[in-house]
Amino acid sequence: MPTSKWLLAAAVALAPLAAPAAPPADLGQRLADGYARPAVARLAQQAQDLEKALAAWCGKGGGPAGAPAVRQAFSQTALAWSGVEFLRFGPLVQGNRYERLVFWPDTRVVMQRQVRALLAQADAAALQPGALASRSVAIQGLPALEYVLYDEPGLLEAPAGKAPDYACRYAVAVAANIAAVSGELRQAWSPQGGFGGQFTAPSAGNDLYRSQQEVAAEAVKALSTGLQFARDIKLAPVLGDSPQAARPKRAAFWRSGMALPMLAASVRGMRAFYDAGGYRYAADEDWIAPSLRGELDRAAVAIEAVDAPLAQAVADAGAWQRLALAALILKNAKDIVDQHFAPALGVTIGFNALDGD
């Protein structure tokens, strides 16, 4: 390249990110009203319902009669979480909220050890209203609740009137904690909440988001890392290289059989989060929207087509193949986000910036 030309190119690269394209002028408002606010409100509502269902059921000593309602409330809360988990910025990363709601992956088996220890001690102080909030994050959230409901002591399977009292009251306290943290999320995202106001009204005087470009960068990052999380953290370690090498207990929420429905719900959530942005493209880029939507839909369909719980499914060659295909599609979707969607919004994702170290 002649010197003059590449000097110019260098200057362009050195300039503060110039915007070759613009996100919608009301992007933050669209994403908040069209997706994030309803999603966190749903989580807060489901968690409240779960707390009520558990309290009523435990009050009667548990038993098969009320168990389906508890199971249903747990599943709905877990699915609502799946629509929120990829919004891993702002309120969700403040005060360890993400980890308090879902401490996972848990490579050192902290949750199981700590919950067992708590149940063994039957520490009454931990069940005082609000007390769990200051305990280890591992015993505060959905995985801990799933553990006591579905695994040890397996509250849902207890005969009528025989559900262990402390464990059941602990389950209620965890549900209450999930409801409280979710309520904080809803408040923070609301127009009155500090974050909700900043996200929807970027301006020079807004410390968090100076421009819609910065909001767009947040949205791109949420989608890109959400897709990466779905594939690299949730699916790949479970699938291994073959059905024989699959490790079903590496899945999140394998105990309740919610791993796959939650994964699908998360992908559908990312699709809805994308749709809420109302992105517009130049003529030569207008393939991006249908491609990205298509990949997200195909991934969700591939996951939903597996009709057994993940633990059994991965040992089956056909189901394993469908999930491997889903993993591949999620990778494609992430590539579209990183290589085409981001630049179309004027967001640059650098080689070093993308994958920090």
């Binding site: 190119a9 994050v137 070093n352 920090g356």
Partner: protein, 368 residues
């Protein structure tokens, strides 16, 4: 902050004041050599370069690399895989012998940094004992005929040790325990954000004794200490990455002297904001009077006066991360977009290599 615009006469004056004629900046006796890892098309390579950015030697790698252990006295280096890295490659700077591949020990992976001891008999690398979730320094036999056999390991006193440097006494290592628990099954995902306890640990290079460990104040427990450089006075300068919410903007750059409390330097608000809570690389200039801290996320390199902690200015470079000493007050800086520039607190960026599609310089840029 001072403007970086400076006229040529003043620049020459500064260079003369620093005891350097302009010509010696280019060829100070033996021309200095540099090392960096890069992606070139589909290939990952470690490269020996001159200050003009010309390749002197290219060492192929099986995957993305990170930084180097350097043994300038014997003309050797080891490049480490990027975390979770399961390989390293030892090679001669002059390419006189074929490179030697090293594999991570069972249950360990490399974090990407390491050092040779001055006598050339030992090489130490930061590693993850990942099932235990503990940081270690792998100790390797770097003596002639030693074949880089792993002969032991030292605890670093923390989780996630990242960069390690050797203090001027030649006997004491300083390790940045980033505090972040990771497991290779989950890539670089942070698994302990709620309980992070980053620290600086001083370790006896001969026997692994933990000599001193320093933590930041409790409100900074999510400030991962990652990268290190030595100032002229022997103080350790460190660069951090904040894992808390973007709205929190803790200072990211600090200085520590043995036996004292660490100091943290925020710089002006706009500069601090521009880091995006991320420092990717730290390097001192050859005089040790100026430290450069880069943020590829924020696209800026910021300079600090090591005597006072004062912010001296910045250079903007999109995805710029690798910084290496060039001359007093001057650095070479490269980027994920293939750019190489020289820049400094008093010097607007001067292009050396243009942006190049398919060429990405990795995080670290080292002078031999």
């Amino acid at each position: 902050m001072r403007s970086m615009e400076i006229d040529r006469r003043r620049f020459l004056g500064l260079a003369a004041a620093a005891g350097l004629a302009p010509a010696t900046l280019r060829a100070a006796g033996r021309a200095p050599l540099y090392l960096a890892a890069r992606r070139a098309g589909e290939r990952y390579e470690a490269v020996v370069l001159d200050a003009q950015g010309r390749d002197r030697q290219v060492v192929p790698m099986p995957a993305r690399g990170h930084s180097f252990a350097l043994d300038p006295a014997r003309g050797r280096a080891v490049v480490f895989g990027r975390q979770p890295g399961f390989f390293a490659v030892a090679f001669r700077i002059d390419g006189a012998q074929p490179p030697v591949a090293l594999q991570a020990a069972a249950g360990r992976h490399f974090f990407g940094h390491g050092v040779f001891l001055p006598d050339g008999r030992r090489m130490l690398a930061t590693e993850n004992h990942y099932e235990a979730g503990q940081g270690v320094l792998g100790v390797y036999d770097a003596s002639a005929g030693g074949g880089y056999r792993r002969i032991g390991e030292f605890a670093t006193g923390g989780i996630g040790p990242h960069e390690v440097v050797l203090l001027p006494d030649g006997k004491t290592l300083c390790v940045a325990n980033g505090g972040i628990l990771t497991h290779p099954d989950y890539g670089k995902l942070e698994l302990n954000l709620d309980t992070m306890q980053p620290s600086l640990a001083y370790v006896d290079a001969a026997d692994g004794r933990l000599l001193e460990q320093v933590r930041l104040p409790p409100q900074y427990h999510r400030l991962s200490i990652r990268h290190l450089a030595l100032a002229a006075d022997g103080a350790v300068w460190f660069g951090c990455q904040h894992t808390g919410p973007a709205g929190e903007r803790p200072p990211l750059v600090g200085r520590h002297r043995r036996g004292s409390q660490p100091g943290l330097y925020a710089g002006p608000d706009e500069v601090l904001r521009g880091f995006r809570n991320y420092v990717g690389s730290v390097a001192a200039d050859p005089s040790g009077a100026v430290v450069a801290t880069s943020s590829p996320v924020g696209g800026q390199v910021v300079y600090w006066d090591t005597a006072s902690g004062r912010c001296l200015g910045l250079t903007r470079l999109a995805d710029g991360c690798g910084v290496a000493p060039l001359a007093p007050q001057r650095f070479l800086v490269n980027s994920g977009m293939g750019v190489l520039v020289q820049a400094g607190p008093e010097l607007p960026a001067q292009p050396i290599l243009p942006p190049s599609p398919g060429l990405s310089w990795d995080n670290h840029f080292r002078r031999l």
